[in-house]
Symmetry: C2
Subunit: 186 residues, 2 copies
């Protein structure tokens, strides 16, 4: 079975990835990895650059993942800076910014970059939805305020198993895992 | 007279720098330069890294400048991501985030990084103040909402000459220019 490193500081992401990838013939291992990401409005650029730095240090086939929440009426804010925004103004801050807005459409985007020293590719997935009008108090990150299309409850309220059945990260993971299994079975 | 390149995309900054540096024996020249900055909560790290990349490309003594607006009651937000935040939620968004907050203290920080291939140094300056409760509609960046300590009007309303008499960027420039004149007179 092909072993891939997931290089990240975020164990919540790893739990989701692990749970989903058991459907594929891949072994995934968590490795705590921190680097200065580049500032860019393009998640692909951020993930590709991070995967290069990670491969230089780790030297084994690996993936990194970058997520952004893009809110339509805030011109895409917080976008690629989701992590910093969460640490400073938090979900409460986002709801304050939307308090007078009727358009609450948002899109979660996930980009996975794979690097094995030879291949350096990205795989993306997205989930459209709405920002709730209050914080659901369950889940991590923006999950407590994101209601995916076709649902009446937030990612946080759905619980991990339901969330990963069709989340933005799952879509990106499917693209990656399908490519990976095809590539290594050659 | 020693010639220094100011590598940036921001001509408003250049106007301020040019106006202030005429008090020193330095010639400053604008060169449009864009690169992917790193994501960091530390302005020094961002400016140092940017100055290295700029020197590799330009090969002449140069400065870059990075500014952040750190708002106390928003845990330092928008901090180093001031430029992205301005493009997305703008000054209106910041006022929305502060609408229920009595503490409107904020600090503008400027970091200049100098690189000539041999020396790679930073010089910083700051200005404390308050965020106004409405947008003054004059000035660029966050100047229309920042009231420096000891003033009753915003940076924007002060006009460029008054603003640069004691702005965060001016403090950083003074540190840089004093060092530079001393260094090159050796």
């Amino acid at each position: 079975m092909r072993k891939i490193i997931f290089a990240s500081t975020n164990e919540n992401k790893f739990k989701e990835i692990l749970l989903h990838l058991r459907n594929f013939d891949l072994e995934i291992e968590f490795l705590r990895f921190k680097t200065n990401e580049i500032q860019s409005e393009n998640l692909e650029d951020i993930a590709l650059e991070k995967s290069k730095v990670a491969f230089e240090r780790i030297g084994q086939p690996l993936i990194v993942e970058d997520t952004g929440l893009f809110i339509d009426s805030l011109n895409g804010f917080p976008g690629p800076y989701s992590s910093y925004v969460l640490q400073t103004i938090g979900n409460k801050g986002l709801l304050d910014l939307l308090s007078n807005k009727s358009n609450r459409l948002a899109c979660f985007r996930s980009v996975i970059a794979y690097n094995d020293g030879k291949n350096n590719l990205t795989f993306s997935g997205e989930a459209r939805g709405n920002i709730s009008d209050h914080i659901s108090e369950v889940g991590w990150g923006y999950d407590p305020i994101f209601i995916p299309e076709g649902s009446s409850i937030t990612y946080g309220q759905q619980g991990i198993t339901n969330k990963i059945s069709k989340s933005h990260r799952t879509h990106a993971l499917n693209h990656f895992a399908e490519w990976c299994c095809r590539y290594y079975s050659k």
